[in-house]
């Protein structure tokens, strides 16, 4: 469990990025942190593996205060995939890139080789294994960055804007991929602006604005609240906006994506036909 207790954070320049954040993320949860630019989302996730330490309050990961341990130690548990893969790719080959973290954590070479094989298969990067990371396309680099974290099997997988620069097909694959990882019992926390993507995975949604959490609840409740979403420069998913226009949400339905709409529409049509 990641517990954030009454955390305040001020950057050395004097910018107050987090204010009184209270949060608990349990094992196996699927969480999306959303909010406008500069709301403090990235700052918050950097607290999870100790890259940033709270100015006030504390962050506790599986019972250990982040102030009392090293980033390297915490990273084995909390794997953060940064937004821009170009900030981390450096190795000569894709295999080496993936092996980097494993070598840092001191795993035996045999184990490293085995893990690389399986992660390359899992992410569909197998055919590139001997190539330089810099020959990959933007989307592939992003997947490689994800693979390089996923390979050390952290209990908590934290992703900063995972859908940026991915085409719709890749997004679909990423979605299946994250849901699969989540099914295997891993906690997934993603920071994103991509409302449609969140509407597809229906996680717990945490909304942030100006360094504070303004809402925390299931996607079905938060994403359809247009006023709340707009207050942090977001919009509900298109299907939800459409459903609002039809006053469907008031009748107790929460429509987030095409599948939801399809089911409800099908029911209506059936009722019509039966009558």
């Amino acid at each position: 469990m990641i517990e954030v207790r009454r955390v305040y954070f001020t950057y050395p320049g004097g910018v107050e990025a987090l204010r009184n954040i209270n949060l608990a993320i349990g094992k196996g949860e699927l969480v999306a942190i959303m909010g406008e630019n500069g709301a403090g989302k990235t700052t918050l996730i950097k607290m999870f593996n100790g890259l940033l330490k709270p100015t006030k309050g504390c962050v506790v990961v599986d019972g250990v205060d982040t102030k009392e341990t090293s980033v390297a130690e915490l990273s084995r548990k909390v794997g953060i995939v940064f937004q821009n893969p170009e900030h981390q790719l450096f190795a000569e080959t894709i295999e080496d890139e993936i092996a980097f973290a494993l070598r840092n954590f001191g795993l035996p070479e045999g184990e490293i080789a085995r893990r690389i094989d399986s992660i390359l298969k899992f992410t569909g990067l197998e055919k590139y294994r001997g190539l330089s990371p810099f020959t990959l396309s933007g989307g592939e680099k992003k997947r490689l960055a994800l693979a390089s974290i996923l390979v050390f099997d952290p209990d908590y997988l934290v992703l900063d804007e995972p859908t940026i620069g991915q085409d719709p097909e890749q997004k679909d694959r990423l979605l299946d991929f994250l849901l699969e990882v989540n099914r295997r019992g891993k906690t997934i926390v993603m920071v994103t602006h991509d409302v449609e993507f969140v509407a597809e995975c229906k996680p717990r949604v945490i909304l942030m604005r100006r360094g504070e959490i303004i809402a925390d609840g299931p996607a079905e409740k938060i994403l359809i609240d247009e006023e709340l979403m707009r207050s942090t420069s977001l919009l509900p998913p298109q299907i939800s906006l459409f459903a609002s226009k039809l006053n469907l949400h008031r009748s107790g339905y929460a429509l987030l994506n095409v599948d939801d709409a399809f089911k409800i529409l099908l029911n209506f049509l059936r009722d019509e036909c039966l009558c």
Binding site: P12, Q88, L89, S148
Partner: protein
């Protein structure tokens, strides 16, 4: 970790010093530097150093100023130690009062330079700097290269920090191992930073060309530098000070 890069970050403020014409400030740097070079006694150095403090106070940049002085402290102490050691060796293995005072004044000279240049760089916007360079007939390409280099320092610092964060999240421990190992630890930081810098400069060049950079021979600026009466007054005052200092040094043999 990257606080030394903070020195280059310009923060917009408003004060009489900030509003002063950059050419007059450049003249100040020139005059003050000449004086600190031609004089060398401890008393003179202390006087010049103290004379920079009111300017810092008027410009309200004392926090940044202290930071740059702190950054210069290590080199300062090196200068003092080396000078003292050299004086000790050449003085027949004895330390005289003159040697010690000379060593300290050399160290103080370095701090004074830091202070003088801080006044200039902490209160002059990159745009003003570029305009001033243009007025001094420096070709615009060089002005632009210079000011954009300064302007990108904060971005670069941010980027280095992000890369460090990303690699630490993959278990990289920068402080681990012996000296060779520690240098090797920086490879995963340096490669992404270099590659990003190249990409960034190519992108910048393309974006500038797309906006017509270099299309016309003669550039005009929205803002023109204009010397105010106060600027002329200060410039004349500075030149007087310079003249008096040189006269005192040459004819009265003050040092």
């Amino acid at each position: 970790m990257l606080s030394f890069l903070e020195v280059f970050r310009f923060r917009r403020r408003d004060s009489p010093i900030h509003r002063m014409d950059p050419r007059v400030k450049a003249l100040y740097v020139f005059v003050a530097s000449i004086i600190s070079i031609i004089y060398y006694s401890l008393t003179a150095m202390i006087t010049i150093f103290i004379s920079t403090i009111p300017l810092i106070a008027i410009a309200k940049v004392h926090r940044e100023w202290i930071r740059s002085l702190r950054g210069a402290l290590f080199l300062t102490s090196m200068i003092v130690v080396v000078n003292m050691f050299a004086g000790y060796l050449s003085g027949g293995l004895t330390l005289t009062v003159e040697t010690v005072s000379y060593a300290f004044s050399m160290g103080l000279r370095f701090l004074t330079f830091t202070s003088i240049f801080s006044i200039f760089f902490l209160t002059t916007t990159p745009e003003d700097l570029s305009l001033a360079l243009e007025k001094l007939k420096v070709p615009y390409d060089y002005c632009f290269a210079f000011t954009s280099a300064i302007r990108f320092v904060p971005d670069l610092a941010l980027e280095i920090q992000t890369v460090i964060d990303a690699q630490r999240s993959r278990g990289l421990e920068l402080e681990k191992g012996n000296i060779v190992r520690r240098i090797r630890n920086y490879i995963p930081i340096l490669i992404p930073v270099f590659i990003r810098s190249f990409t960034r400069s190519i992108e910048l060049a393309e974006a500038m060309e797309a906006r017509g950079y270099g299309a016309s021979e003669k550039r005009t600026s929205i803002y023109e530098l204009n010397m105010k009466h106060s600027d002329y007054a200060i410039a004349s005052f500075l030149l007087c000070i310079l003249a008096i200092s040189i006269l005192l040094r040459v004819y009265a043999n003050w040092y």
